[in-house]
């Protein structure tokens, strides 16, 4: 699943900036996306990820820098001359056309003969599991079905790159999870490069081959899901992709032997009873359980360390009725984690 660095580059951004007046929506972004990759642009709203996508689609023009599609500079090339297609956040289906006409639109514009057009529309509707829906109107469809029509309409043109702008944002949780699986399967089937914009870190981790984490118009980190989650380079990434405990200053020095800030994931910390013997290779800390929050699949413990710092620990509920736990609020505990689980952050990581 990891990106193969020797593959050819599909989309390349070089020092791309896009300013709206004083607002630096996209600020000196460098990015290489490989052919056939499922690549996510992840970030909070206003972080520049959507503007980046719109720059690639041609809906926005960059203020400076260069954008290459398969090696070709595309500055000034209008959207209709770029070999990319977009799945819009609001789907942007044409309400006055049937599902079939929506999907056929790009082929009609390109004057593909009627027979071939019909065949390809049918194939595409099969792919997105909407066979037989050709004659429905978009308003007669559910949210998930509309999403699939939008996907089919973009894919039928066989673009080399597909851009997806938070396509699952409008769906509810269960449907979103189902569409994540489907979308990923379709991408593997058609083999097209997918560039996927999302603000949902779990979605980005689940679906992507690689992802870029955006903040304030800049990219904070690029890597595979595991690289980004397990080795965040900045505080922002550590906090935005999952949750992290940050050990700073004195606490970091005392526990880790260096004042450099480190991030440690709540699920990497184990809880031991006082006096229990812990592997000496582990980093150890003593504390008191301040709060236990039951979350069904796991419990979240808020533990006060002796120096007043607070750590969050997550433990999977392995046993039936594990809500009733032997470790109660106010109990003293020992915490321990593998030294390798605590990842040092880039001190220059420029975000708040």
């Amino acid at each position: 699943m990891a990106a193969n660095q020797s593959r050819s580059v599909a989309v390349s951004l070089r020092q791309v900036c896009r300013y709206f007046g004083d607002v630096r929506a996209v600020d000196r972004v460098d990015l290489d996306i490989y052919d056939g990759e499922f690549f996510s642009l992840l970030g909070p709203s206003g972080s520049g990820k959507t503007t980046c996508l719109r720059l690639i689609a041609g809906f926005e023009q960059s203020t400076s820098g260069s954008i290459l599609l398969h090696g070709q500079e595309v500055a000034g090339v209008p959207p209709y001359d770029r070999d990319v297609n977009t799945v819009f956040q609001d789907y942007a289906l044409f309400p006055h056309m049937s599902v079939g006409e929506n999907v056929a639109y790009g082929l009609m514009i390109r004057k593909v003969p009627k027979d071939e057009r019909n065949r390809r529309v049918r194939e595409m509707l099969d792919l997105v599991r909407l066979s037989g829906m050709e004659n429905r109107r978009p308003t007669q469809l559910s949210g998930g079905q509309r999403q699939r029509v939008a996907l089919a309409r973009a894919l039928v043109n066989q673009p080399r790159v597909l851009l997806l702008d938070e396509p699952l944002g409008a769906l509810d949780l269960k449907l979103r999870q189902q569409m994540q699986v489907e979308l990923k399967a379709i991408q593997q089937q058609v083999g097209i490069t997918f560039i996927f914009v999302t603000h949902d870190q779990e979605e980005a981790l689940t679906m992507s081959d690689r992802l870029a984490v955006f903040n304030h118009g800049r990219i904070e980190q690029i890597g595979t899901p595991a690289e980004v989650y397990e080795r965040p380079t900045t505080e922002f990434v550590a906090g935005f992709v999952g949750t992290s405990n940050l050990l700073k200053g004195d606490t970091a020095t005392r526990l880790m032997g260096s004042a450099q800030t480190v991030a440690i994931r709540p699920e990497k910390i184990r809880i031991y009873a006082p006096g229990e013997i812990i592997d000496t290779g582990m980093v150890q800390a003593n504390g008191t359980i301040k709060e236990i929050i039951y979350l069904g699949m796991h419990n979240k413990y808020l533990v006060s360390l002796d120096n007043g710092d607070e750590l969050t620990v997550v433990q999977q509920n392995l046993d039936a009725l594990s809500a009733v736990n032997s470790i109660g609020r106010g109990h003293a505990v020992q915490l321990a984690w593998a030294r390798a689980s605590a990842h040092p952050l880039n001190p220059a990581g420029g975000s708040k």
């Binding site: 689609a57 041609g58 809906f59 209008p78 959207p79 209709y80 990319v84 297609n85 977009t86 819009f88 956040q89 609001d90 942007a92 289906l93 044409f94 309400p95 006055h96 639109y105 790009g106 514009i109 390109r110 309409r153 973009a154 043109n157």
Partner: protein, 266 residues
């Protein structure tokens, strides 16, 4: 599951006041229709002493009535067509434009409808006189087009603003040029609004008196014919019948346009 179907209703007093207001607005309309059927020739008494349809056949025999009616229809149709083309162009140009403030421009378009008819009339007459042109069918059309354009513009721009711009982007993204996007995406989206605007424009043009008096030569549109009729008291019921005609020709397009824009309103 939040439902607005059955929330606490308006208090009775409010309903009563509303009912009276509605009545007030509609009594005149009922009167004119009623007195198109009265058997009296000149004076009106209430209730009418008897009902008759003789005034309809009398009106049908008046050549000058038919002449005015056809002129009104021709003027309204032509002015409406001109307005539909120019109004659409205007709204397309101004929708999403932001040069010296979209609002300022929008206001510039809307002002002419607010221009008092008498002012528009005087101004147009002066302008046409200056060019030395004759007052013909076409000068009436130009006069009517001023306010018809605004009506079409208002309808079309409201629809354009409600149309997701992402549709336009999607069309371009799928390979369509600007013209193709207009033809296949924008036009179908604004079609009903354009039609509704056109119908309203037609109704406005059909009713217009003031601007017509200034821009017409010897031509008499139907409302002006009615106006002239009023100097002849013995023809009052015939005039009322003509007024019923005007009401009908005006209301039908307005009702249709109301239907067409139902989705835009809510």
């Amino acid at each position: 599951m939040r439902s607005n179907l059955e929330t606490p209703r308006s208090p009775l007093a409010l309903k009563l006041a509303a009912g009276c207001s509605l009545l007030f607005l509609h009594v005149p309309l009922c009167i004119i229709i009623l007195y198109a059927f009265t058997t009296e020739e000149a004076a009106f008494t209430f209730p009418p002493p008897g009902l008759t349809t003789q005034w309809f056949s009398q009106l049908a025999n008046r050549g000058d009535f038919w002449e005015s009616l056809w002129l009104s229809i021709a003027v309204a149709t032509t002015a409406t067509l001109v307005a539909m083309i120019l109004g659409t162009l205007l709204s397309l140009a101004l929708y999403r434009s932001n040069f010296f403030g979209r609002d300022a421009i929008s206001l510039l378009v809307i002002l002419p409808i607010a221009l008092p008819g008498i002012v528009t009339g005087i101004a147009l007459r002066s302008a046409i006189s200056l060019t030395g042109a004759q007052f013909t069918f076409w000068t009436i059309v130009i006069g009517h087009a001023t306010f018809c354009i605004v009506t079409v513009y208002n309808n079309v721009i409201a629809r354009l603003r409600r149309t997701a711009h992402s549709q336009v982007e999607a069309s371009m993204d799928l390979g369509a040029s600007t013209w193709q996007t207009f033809r296949y995406i924008i036009l179908p989206n604004i079609a009903t609004a354009l039609l509704a605007g056109g119908m309203l424009a037609f109704a406005l043009s059909f009713d217009e008196v003031i601007v017509t008096t200034f821009t017409a030569g010897q031509q008499r549109t139907l409302p002006i014919w009615i106006f002239d009729q009023l100097t002849r008291p013995r023809d009052r019921p015939v005039t009322n019948v003509a007024a019923v005609f005007v009401i009908a020709v005006t209301f039908i397009p307005i009702l249709l346009s109301y239907r067409l824009t139902a989705s835009t309103r809510e």
